[in-house]
Structures are given as C-alpha cells and as structure tokens.
C-alpha cells in the first residue's frame, strides 16, 4: 500500500519518459497511460480482496 501510494503521489510530479514511475504507469496503461486514483483503487482493493479469498490474509486488526 505504501509503495502504491508513493507511486501514485509521485507520478504527477515526476512524469517524464524513462522515469521509473512514468514507465510503470505506462506499463499498467490505463486512461492513456495515466494511472488514475480510480484504477489504482480498483487494483489495490481487488488485490487485497484476492489475498483474503486465497487465505493469504486471514485477520486484520481493528
């Protein structure tokens, strides 16, 4: 999550071809190469739901 958020928060300021964040964003390539908050939320949310469904994450403190 930390990585994803850092990646997202940096992309708007570090957008330049060849930069790691820019290239990663284009590899995922949603909405013309810009990873929007919407798509990132879908990826992170479903990834976590998948971990739970696969029993790789069984309990979270609250």
């Amino acid at each position: 999550l930390g990585l994803a958020t850092t990646f997202f928060t940096c992309r708007s300021r570090l957008e330049a071809p060849g930069h790691i964040f820019y290239d990663a964003a284009h590899r995922i390539c949603f909405d013309g190469g810009r990873v929007t908050e919407d798509w990132l939320a879908v990826i992170v949310g479903l990834f976590l739901a998948g971990l739970v469904a696969l029993n790789m994450l069984t309990w979270v403190p609250w």
Binding site: G2, T5, T6, F8, T9, C10, S12, R13, L14, F30, D31, T36, E37, D38, W39, L40, A41, V42, V44, G45, L46, L48, A49, V52, A53, N55, L57, T58, W59, V60, P61, W62
Partner: protein, 354 residues
C-alpha cells in the same frame, strides 16, 4: 485543486520525502483515531465518538497545526482522500450481496435522477439571482447536486472554469459536508427512520462521498451500505452530467455549436472504481469469500482505508479559500443544501420505505 499544488516547482527528491512523510502522517492519524475509538469503548463501555468523527477531528487539528507551521503545502502529497475512499468502497463491495446492490442501486438511480436534476437547476437559477459568475454557478450547481468535489472537477473541465473557482468550491463542499456528516445520522435516528431510508437520505444529500460513508457509519452498518450504494449510483451519473453541461456550455452559453463535446467524455468522466466495487461484490456473492473472511479481514481493511479517507477530508479543508470570494456563494450553497436535504428526504421516503 491538486493541479494548483502540483504546479509548484519542487525537486523530485523533496517530493518523495514529502510523500513518505505525509503518508506516514495520514497512517499515524488513522491509527490514533482507531485507538481512541477502541479506548473509549473500553473505558466507557460505549464509543464516545464514532471512528469517522475521531478521524475527521484529528485531520482538522493536524491541518490547523500544519498550516500554522507553514508545512501544509509541502506535506500535502499523500492527502489522497479520493484514493483511500475509493479503495475502501471497492472493499465495501465485498461486504454487500450483488442482488442487494441491484435492488438498492436501481432505486438509487431513480432518486439520483430526480434529486440531481431538481437541485442542479434550483442552484443554477438561485446563483444567477445572486449574480454569481456563470462558471462558478456551474461548479456550485454540479457539486451541490451530484457528488461534491468530483462533480466540481468534472464541471470545471466541462466549462473551463478557473482554478480559483474550483479550489473555492472544493473548500465549500467539505465545509458543508462535515457538519452534515455529524448532524444527519443523529437527525435520522431521532426521526426514527429505517436504515434503508436513513441511508438513502444520507447518500442522496451529503455532497462528498467520504462524508456520506462517514455519516452512514455513524448511523449504522446497514445505513452505511445503503448510503454508499446510493451515492455510487449518483457518482455513476457524473459522466452524463459533465457531457450535457459541456454541450449546454458550447451551444447555449458560448454559442460555438461546432465545438460540441464527444460522447467519449461520458466514459472519461465515469468513476471507474465502480467496476471494482461490483467485481468485489460478485466475488462474495459467488462464494469466493466466506462470511467469516469478510468479517475478520475485509471489514477491518475497509475500515482502515475509510479512516484514512476521513483523516484526509480533515487535512484537505482549505480555510483560506473562504476569504477570497465573499459570502454570497456561501449563502447560495447553504440554501441549495437545505433544498437538497428536503428533496432527498422526500425521495428516500417514497422510494426506500419498506
């Protein structure tokens, strides 16, 4: 709002450090909100305040502290309310049966079309009566009727509004949403509304989605789910609203019919997190997630993301914006919100009464 902040010339290194520090701040405040909620349960036998209120309160306090110390702009990188909120909503999808989403969502769309249309035009003409700038009118009408800051951003794109107008409306949306988030669930309880009606009222009235989820959570788990589905139904209309607003703008206001917006605008503006919400719900509905897994892992995860979002709305409120545009827009927004509250209650009562 973010564009204005992003335009500042800062080095990539300081951005990365700022992003990490601000992310740590959001997480620390979310953990503190959770600890305070649990501690009050332990000491008093009940929650002194619900977790959304602790989170927003701590966010507001940190906001004031950072602004006083001049560090708010430098530490704003991870105040990503929308991201935390939408991830929380995707996870919330996994806690709701797909058939319930269809049942609530169908009525939510009817409610949204009726209330959004009425409130949009009411605010549009009210703001004209107060002689507000035409583009500011469009932003205010969209934000008060549809879904707060996201709608204001979509409307700003449709009418090419000024950044200052957008920043102002965003501050206005949050300033009105916070008291409503506090008052409306208690009002719904005192009126003895069912969870469905209370949720539909909250979802149909409060502008910003984070405050809708917060108000729903303060009322009850059931109301939070209904409020979220109703609000998501409204959010899904944003693409159509932005398209028709842009069409109206170029044809009627600017009289440039040759520059009509493309239908692809509807897709561009569509909130894509809705797909994640629906897929997560299907995962649960087909049995890939058991009720036990939802209870022990999905619900706590959802709550953590939502808590971070609530901290974010406290952190993002820009108090300074109110001094820039005067009080007329505040009065318009207040009257429009009252109108929205009454209409949404009537619609919720008719459409969601069991």
């Amino acid at each position: 709002v973010k564009d204005g902040a992003d335009a500042r010339p800062v080095s990539p290194e300081s951005n990365v450090v700022g992003a990490i520090l601000s992310f740590a701040l959001v997480i620390a405040l979310a953990v503190l909100a959770n600890r305070l909620t649990n501690a009050s349960k332990l000491w008093l036998g009940r929650e002194l305040l619900e977790y959304p209120l602790w989170a927003v309160g701590l966010g507001l306090m940190a906001n004031l502290g950072l602004a006083a110390g001049g560090a708010r702009d430098r530490l704003g990188a991870a105040f990503r309310t929308e991201f935390f909120l939408k991830t929380g909503l995707v996870l919330m999808g996994a806690t709701i049966n797909f058939l319930d989403i269809l049942r609530i969502g169908a009525r939510g769309v009817v409610q949204a079309v009726l209330v959004v249309t009425a409130v949009f035009f009411f605010t549009w003409y009210l703001a004209a009566w107060f002689k507000l700038d035409q583009k500011l009118r469009a932003l205010m009408a969209a934000s008060v009727s549809i879904c707060g800051v996201s709608a204001a951003i979509a409307a700003a794109g449709a009418v090419l509004a000024k950044k200052e107008h957008l920043a102002y409306v965003a501050a206005l949306v949050i300033a009105f949403a916070l008291p409503l988030m506090l008052i409306q669930p208690y009002l719904a309880k005192s009126m003895d509304l069912s969870a469905d009606v209370a949720g539909a009222w909250i979802g149909g009235n409060i502008d910003t989605t984070a405050a809708v989820v917060g108000a729903g959570a303060i009322h009850s788990e059931a109301a939070m789910k209904v409020a979220s589905v109703v609000k998501i139904s409204q959010n899904a209309l944003i693409g159509f609203a932005a398209f028709f607003l842009a069409l109206y703008w170029v044809v009627v206001v600017e009289r440039k019919p040759d520059q009509k917006p493309k239908a692809s605008e509807i897709w561009t503006r569509f909130p894509k997190f809705v797909f994640g919400f629906l897929i997560a719900s299907l995962i649960t509905t087909v049995g890939l997630l058991s009720p036990e897994q939802v209870k022990t892992a999905i619900v706590p995860l959802r709550n953590w993301f939502l808590t971070a979002a609530f901290v974010g709305i406290g952190l993002e409120l820009a108090f300074g914006e109110f001094t820039k545009t005067g009080w007329k827009p505040v009065i318009v927004y207040f009257i429009a919100t009252l109108m929205n509250t009454l209409l949404a209650l009537a619609a919720a009562w008719v459409l969601f009464q069991p």
